[in-house]
Symmetry: C2
Subunit: 363 residues, 2 copies
């Protein structure tokens, strides 16, 4: 087991990474302020892992209230959130009763927001069971639900007491979701970690094949990269943290334009990163070699690198309600090179047009 | 104008107290990170004060998006909250667009929770226009909405950038609401400020009559008392802040038992304080003289001192879902004397029974 520490001033917390961690009731118990916990999971993950977690907690003398939600991004909404509140209240969960998110990013985001707002905040622990959740959404304290008019519009910054990433749980993931997780893994290399990008270039096939040792290394390296950024800018106030959104402004537009759930988040981010790279290239900032390396690595990871063709006007409209909008201007994360991302609002329309024309499917 | 500073380590903020402050666009403008703001108010307050605030902001070059909600505690729910989110999104309010709560405690709680969760948190300013909101709910960062099964079950701790308490706005309040506000004012004296309790004993009639100078003094003294407690225990983690809930455990039971809205919050707190005092007396902690002084002062303030008769079992049931429950035990705030409150879970059933029997109406 490896541990990455997220060293936030107000409260630090550990990310445990390794195999067979779901059965480690002691790891969970040491972070619980009360001998009770509500385990929030979904209909996909419950048959796979709810039993092992419940047994581990019970063996550690923790009483468990399971809350099983319908699976999928379409359920990350206020209706499901209210169902969680109803269950918490009916089971008389208290201020010190921890909520444990057992599942992917949707469960982590929703359970985290429930923990942030039930009784004005209760203890929270993440057990991410997808690659995307292990390398991205479970780390950093972002919680949210979707609004019919946009993704993650309603949420809170709320840090967990601990994150437990059992890489063994990735063996039951569909291949498409492994690829989607790799989009965020690759993103860390592209944003600011050239050695990691080079390592991924050498090892991407073994990650797609889920070899245990490289997978644990990729998760550890991704969490360490994310933790560094989160520590520097916990609430996305200084721009540092915004760099993590490379590809996400376009990615969110793709997800919203297609209807949430059509593409996986990581797939949309992959195609979005390609657009961001091409915008950077059209502005004369990024060279062709780097653009090609990014596209090739994403392709080898099994990810889409061609975006849906909504047309420029619709893309701009879809991006207009993005959370990163400031004084009516859209801010973009662009690249000067692999490993060198930056934030800017100064993107000429022609660069957007050229990049989109090169990045969308014409069919 | 007087200023009370809430000296929180993460971020301090001022409470401005005085007359004619609603027209002071400069006071607001100095706290806004953007030349835009959404003013959230209700159908009662909008006709009285929305114009003056909008004009003041416009004169200070701030663009205003007004959001007018239905008035009343019954609307402090997820439906109204969603209406606020819809309006914010439709008007493309951004991360730096401040939400300004203009109204009583319901508007402050709901707008504050909207500010805490819209785009994971946007700037927030309170303009409380009721006495209750000026002396209590606008100070300290508690925000929330109600759930069908309990008051303030869903919420967040979220501090405003500033609080602007215009005592002139109290002149349009119904007398019943002035009295309800005085319940919380008196509470500060009872909890821990004997000189203030004595001052109130000498001046309660001039407060009921809304004399400007004593009113400003009472608001200032109440805010200073509350700020002291909030600074010592921002998130109600150490028990200090829980003392502010004197009378509230019983008060919430009264409000829930009668149906929200039947009694004003301050009225329920007044009757609840009497029960808490009588429990303290039944346990031999508080003497008859102090119990009588509290009851007399509340009565002179125009407040109810007799609670509805639900019976002991129903009271216990109503208190069982209170937020202050810990490991299944109810915690009470009791008194050793006027000015000396403390927190305990060790309350014998006979004391509760005796106190309730003495405090409820038998009709």
């Amino acid at each position: 087991m490896q541990t990455v520490e997220v060293a936030l001033t107000a409260r630090s917390y550990p990310i445990y990474i390794g195999e067979q961690l779901l059965a480690r009731g002691d790891l969970l118990a040491r972070h619980l302020p009360q001998k009770r916990a509500a385990v929030i999971t979904d209909t996909t993950v419950a048959p796979l892992y709810l039993d092992v977690v419940t047994r581990a907690l019970t063996a550690a003398d923790i009483a468990v209230t399971p809350i099983v939600l319908p699976a999928g991004e379409t359920h990350k909404n206020s209706e499901t959130l209210n169902a969680v509140f109803d269950a918490l209240i009916l089971n008389r969960c208290e201020r010190k009763t921890a909520l444990i998110a057992l599942g992917g990013g949707v469960i982590g985001d929703l359970a985290g927001f429930a923990a942030a707002t039930y009784l004005r905040g209760v203890p929270f622990i993440q057990i991410p069971t997808t690659l995307l959740a292990q390398v991205d959404s479970s780390v950093g304290g972002k919680t949210a639900i979707n609004h019919p008019r946009g993704k993650n519009m309603i949420g809170a910054f709320y840090q967990p007491l601990a994150v437990i990433a059992d890489t063994g749980s990735l063996n039951t993931l569909p291949a498409r979701e492994v690829s989607a997780g790799l989009a965020e893994v690759i993103k860390y290399g592209v944003i600011g970690d050239v050695p990691f990008f080079d390592w991924l270039d050498d090892n991407i096939e073994s990650l797609v094949a889920r070899d245990a040792a490289p997978l644990a290394y990729a998760v550890r390296q991704s969490c360490a990269n994310k933790a560094k950024v989160v520590v520097a800018d916990e609430r996305e106030e200084h721009g540092d943290r915004a760099l993590l959104n490379l590809g996400h402004t376009f990615g969110h537009a793709i997800e919203t334009g297609l209807g949430h759930g059509a593409w996986l988040h990581g797939e949309a981010v992959a195609a979005g990163m390609v657009i961001a790279a091409r915008v950077s290239q059209a502005m004369g900032l990024l060279n062709e070699v780097d653009v090609t390396r990014i596209i090739k690595l994403l392709t080898r990871a099994g990810l889409p690198v061609v975006a849906p063709d909504f047309g420029l006007a619709r893309y701009l409209e879809l991006m207009g309600i993005d959370k990163k909008v400031e004084s009516g201007k859209i801010r973009f994360i662009l690249l000067r090179a692999i490993g060198s991302a930056f934030l800017t609002a100064a993107v000429p329309a022609h660069a957007l047009k050229t990049a989109l024309a090169a990045s969308v499917s014409h069919g």
